[in-house]
């Protein structure tokens, strides 16, 4: 689960990292009030940032600087309500717009191959680390934290010094590096990233300019498997930004990812579900979703999965692919029959059930006049053919394929 920037900043701040204090606003008037407050406590400019979970907000115009509260309000008006990669901006963060001297990258991720936490740092801050990795891999410093010991002091010093953050910045840089790893461990995150980590200039009383380190942006992704033991983090899930289908799938214990095609897929097992999508594509179609009903699914779960698939108006055919192991084929077949009795619309479907209780499933499907297939390749081809027929029918004005049931 991805956290919104302002939530990520809260976690870093709570761990003692230097994060400039910002405020979340959901109307232009709130933006103005928040900005006025920041200007009152010495900010010379403020930044208004769209709070969305998709990347590329800057390029999309979702981040603006403002020199007055009035300008901030205008920036808020422009950003609130705008659409970034299909997501409507509902909230912005208003934060001090610091005077940046230098930018760095610092991030902790799970290193699968090494089975360690990997801390990465770069003096090429402010750009995506993937881009740095491609263009200038030698500019990234990498360190592994031991799973039982965490990041040791000397490692944190070594990271800071490698980035050129010695001298007056060393102590703060060490605290930030160790803090990142601690935030990752304490919150069960997959990724904790500060980009940019910046040296910012501050002008104190009497015009004295000082420099200090500050975390100007934060990205945190949490391990979904660990969320049950972090109810306080689960509560930060952004339901506004989530597809309602995703929320329903989660409630039902179904793994569901919405895609753009016309063939809905209902499969047991993640690897087989991906394979089913791949074979749909290979047969010339496009999958409408990834859907894994998990192991041992009963009829009601199958029916819920069918509802999720049919809720997508782009779906013109459904491919059911079940390899029974723990899951019983007859249970799935019953679920399909139940779902059809209450479904909102009729679409062609091709069912392939093999493995445990496949014979019983076949009898149920035959009695209910479902179209069946024996191999996955055949099932994929038939589903693609069904979509083509439906497309032809709608092109010639025949209501056959998409007629609503009474």
């Amino acid at each position: 689960m991805k956290l919104q920037e302002f939530h990520a900043r809260e976690l870093l701040s709570a761990a003692g990292l230097p994060v400039p204090r910002g405020r979340v606003a959901s109307t232009p008037a709130e933006v103005r009030a928040a900005a006025a407050e920041l200007f009152a406590v010495s900010a010379s400019q403020v930044v208004v940032k769209a709070q969305v979970l998709v990347g590329g907000r800057g390029k999309a115009g979702g981040v603006k600087l403002a020199a007055t509260a009035q300008e901030a309000e205008a920036a808020g008006s422009a950003i609130l309500g705008m659409s970034i990669k299909g997501i409507t901006v509902r909230r912005v963060l208003v934060a001090p717009g610091p005077d940046i001297a230098r930018e760095y990258y610092l991030g902790a991720i799970l290193d699968r191959a090494a089975q360690r936490i990997l801390l990465m740092g770069s003096a090429e801050g402010g750009v995506e680390i993937e881009e740095v990795a491609r263009q200038k891999p030698e500019a990234i410093v990498r360190l592994h934290a031991h799973p039982h010991l965490g990041l040791l002091d000397y490692q944190a010093r070594s990271m800071a010094l490698s980035l050129g953050l010695g001298g007056p910045h060393l102590r703060a840089a060490v605290a930030i590096a160790k803090g990142l790893v601690r935030v990752m461990v304490e919150n069960d995150a997959d990724l904790v990233e500060v980009n940019p980590l910046a040296v910012v200039r501050e002008t104190g009383p009497g015009g004295l300019v000082t420099e200090r380190l500050a975390c100007l942006d934060a990205k945190i992704t949490l391990d979904d498997s660990a969320l049950p033991r972090h109810p306080e983090l689960e509560a930060r899930r952004d339901l506004d930004e989530e597809d309602p289908a995703d929320a329903e799938a989660r409630a039902q214990g179904i793994n569901f990812i919405h895609l753009d095609g016309a063939i809905g897929c209902l499969v047991n097992g993640a690897g087989l579900a991906m394979t089913t999508m791949d074979l749909v594509k290979r047969a010339g179609g496009e999958p409408a979703n990834f859907l894994d009903i998990g192991g041992g699914a009963k009829a009601d779960k199958v029916a819920a999965a069918m509802r999720l698939i049919l809720a997508d108006p782009k779906v013109m055919a459904i491919l059911v692919n079940i390899f029974g192991g723990i899951t019983r084929g007859d249970e799935v077949a019953h679920g399909l029959v139940e779902a059809r009795a209450v479904q909102s619309r009729e679409v062609p479907r091709v069912v392939r059930i093999v493995g445990t209780n496949a014979a019983e499933a076949a009898a149920i499907l035959r009695a209910a006049a479902f179209e069946t297939a024996s191999s996955l390749e055949e099932a994929a081809e038939r589903a693609v053919a069904a979509v083509r027929r439906a497309q032809m029918a709608s092109a010639t004005g025949s209501p056959e394929a998409t007629e609503a049931r009474p």
């Binding site: 191959a113 799973p147 097992g269 690897g271 991906m274 390749e377």
Partner: protein, 295 residues
């Protein structure tokens, strides 16, 4: 021979009185696997599976009294890391963890302890392993198998059944089929299992089933170039159509920052001289083309 599980397997089932544990223990026993003990804290002294298997409170007791050398874990995610610690601390050499949903950082802490004990962990979030005709440990349905000489290693469950069933239907039997699990941090990698197959005199060909996420397939391919020369090998990689940045059901199946794509894995495998099938059904044909004879 075979790898990991066989006639000398003396199996301990951790969580034998739970719903999953009991159900699968029966299936394993019916297959002919020698189940010597079960554990269930607080239920020591009971007998499970119609009185055929003694239940102990701790793994240490079970190992001491029954000589168990392998364990399989069916306890919920919140208790599974502890179950792994307990098993390796009691000297169990091979531990299969079927449990899904263990936090990745818990597994990071588990792994050094497993290594220090000199134990082997398979999983978590895996279907286990079956050596057809000898023993099965885990949840793979018995019906998909046939005895033979092809070793299968996979990150998936049902996709493995699909491929193995197709091999069986084509008359190609298996020495051992191993599911290593779909999590980002697993005890045994594709490469670890390939090493075992390479040393097993009864494994004459290999099938590697991969999926998006991580770099385990690439690491296996790099090793295979030198060590599997002349061994008929075929692969299948799921997720050619998976979008970037989405977790595809398995916690470890995610393309991030452009890495872990099916295309990259297929390219690495092909560069290592491994034939990659476009469908599960083609795997058998690729082996036959390399001289594997159906029976």
């Amino acid at each position: 021979m075979s790898i990991l599980v066989g006639r000398d397997t003396r199996l301990l089932v951790q969580g034998i009185t739970g719903r999953e544990g009991e159900f699968h223990a029966r299936q394993m026993q019916a297959y002919g696997t020698r189940i010597v003990a079960g554990t269930s804290p607080g239920k020591g002294g009971m007998r499970a599976l119609d009185g055929t298997v003694p239940v102990f409170d701790t793994v240490a007791q079970a190992a001491r009294e029954t000589g168990a050398n392998t364990s399989v874990i069916y306890v919920p995610a919140s208790g599974a890391p502890d179950a792994i610690f307990e098993a390796v601390d009691a000297g169990i050499a091979t531990v299969f963890c079927i449990t899904e949903g263990i936090p990745a950082l818990d597994m990071l802490k588990v792994m050094p302890v497993v290594h220090d004990a000199g134990a082997r962990l398979v999983g978590p979030n895996c279907p286990g392993a079956t050596s057809p005709g000898r023993a099965k440990v885990g949840i793979i349905p018995a019906s998909v198998h046939r005895e033979g000489r092809v070793g299968v290693v996979s990150r998936s469950g049902t996709l493995t059944y699909e491929v193995v069933q197709a091999l069986t239907d084509a008359g190609i039997g298996q020495s051992t089929c191993v599911g290593i699990g779909g999590d980002p941090i697993v005890g045994s990698s594709h490469l670890d299992i390939l090493r075992l197959f390479a040393e097993d005199p009864e494994t004459e060909a290999i099938v590697l089933i991969g999926e998006i996420g991580g770099s385990a397939e690439e690491e296996a391919a790099a090793w295979a170039v030198e060590h599997l020369r002349g061994v008929p090998t075929a692969a299948f990689v799921a997720g050619r159509t998976a979008p970037e940045g989405k977790r595809m059901g398995h916690a470890g199946a995610i393309i991030s920052g452009g890495t872990g794509t099916a295309a990259a894995k297929i390219a690495a495998l092909e560069a290592a001289g491994i034939r990659v099938a476009e469908t599960p059904g083609q795997v058998a044909a690729l082996l036959i083309e390399q001289g594997v004879r159906p029976s």
